[in-house]
Symmetry: C2
Subunit: 277 residues, 2 copies
Amino acid sequence: MTAIGICAPGKRLDRRHADRLLEVMEQDPALAGISIEFHPQCFARSGHFAGDDETRLAALLECANDPTKDAVWFAHGGYGTNRIAASAIDRLGPAARDKIFLGYSDTGYFLSALYMHGIGKPVHGPMVADIRHDYGESAVKRSLHYLAGERDGLEGDLDDKPTVALNLMTLAMLCGTELMPDLSGHVVLVEEVSEHLYAIDRLFFHVTQHLGGIAGLRLGRISDVPENDRPFGASAEDIAQYWCGKAGIPYLGRADIGHDSANKIVPFGLAERASRQ
Amino acid sequence: MTAIGICAPGKRLDRRHADRLLEVMEQDPALAGISIEFHPQCFARSGHFAGDDETRLAALLECANDPTKDAVWFAHGGYGTNRIAASAIDRLGPAARDKIFLGYSDTGYFLSALYMHGIGKPVHGPMVADIRHDYGESAVKRSLHYLAGERDGLEGDLDDKPTVALNLMTLAMLCGTELMPDLSGHVVLVEEVSEHLYAIDRLFFHVTQHLGGIAGLRLGRISDVPENDRPFGASAEDIAQYWCGKAGIPYLGRADIGHDSANKIVPFGLAERASRQ
């Protein structure tokens, strides 16, 4: 049995998406060995967030410090994890030590902080709310199967180097802060959604100056780029290659991650790649 | 006579705005002692930019290294100055040493780099393209009168501490890069336009972790905030105070700067505040 606690450190989860997840799980016999529990905080509301900072922090700590749970799965991205990540790290107990923490996008602030402190097993992958996308069922199943011990959903080109996967904006905001792990020797995978290409260029200017010593960068999908009043004049891959070249960072090609249903699993570091079955 | 060279390190200038500036200058006898020269690069076009990187860099260097010019005035913000700022710094000659460089927003990358290297006199203030705003005439006149030696347009609450004024996104992207000056002991003024409040919060999270040791922060206008699908739950000033509080940075109140016609003049550092008349 794999027991999963679900909380929402940023944006609240729509109850319809939670219900749909339960339906999907009932219809898949391979998921019979998984139990999930939605922390009530998933559905709380306070301005932009799924409850105020104290509420979200308390729920994250309850899930992380619960010795009956094998994993914490994040319900949604949005924005807000950075506001509670440092406080959460300070209050993690022994039950958090070997847990998987699975999410991406805004929850990357906490995944990075966990990785920095060597606590738990942070993993990039689809979240509950991804069920709302076309083919979203396949996205949430990828994470559930991973949490159950299967490894079919891993990003296909992970090599022998430690790896992290982060949203580009999240990575840019992490750089130089108390939540930023040392990524020397790592392959860094980045993806982005709903940002103009000039903003992508600006973010690459920033992050490549902070990523000296990494083993290389791989570019996930840059999706839903808003139309601007004038064309940027370069593609997202041109941009990544340009800034990597300037900073002496090896550009290692594309990565199969993004804000979409095809988003693959990327465990932080080198662990949690082998099947548990 | 004050001779001003104008170039556009980011976005191209509309010819109508250049023509309008000339009209405004003709109608103001107090500006008779000023001559301006638009570098042809102001009107160039290459994708997102006013000419490609080489073209913009060459024009910036021609204006900066021209011994017959007293000041370089930037035509427009937009995006792109960060792509040429470091190369420009490396190639500035003696004629740049005592020049005023006046702009804000995206041109803050170069103003910061100048300040970091102790080259010239970087000044935050309205640019040529600000003439397009309501009351834009008053904005461009404020900069022209400043360049002519008057000091009426200075931000009203500058104190005895060295000061810089930067767009919040520009400052966030500068943090930790080769263009970032040491701002210890400085009062830092920030402003922003067209960003959601959650993005403002995220930027404050980032910049306050990089601004340890500053004398304090003052908040300019946060304007044209797009409407989101849910209210953020805190004002821009709440956000600034919150993150300053967490980082131990004194929050010193509001500042009279922003992406608007009321945008006041802020010389970087302590110099260039006294009238030359």
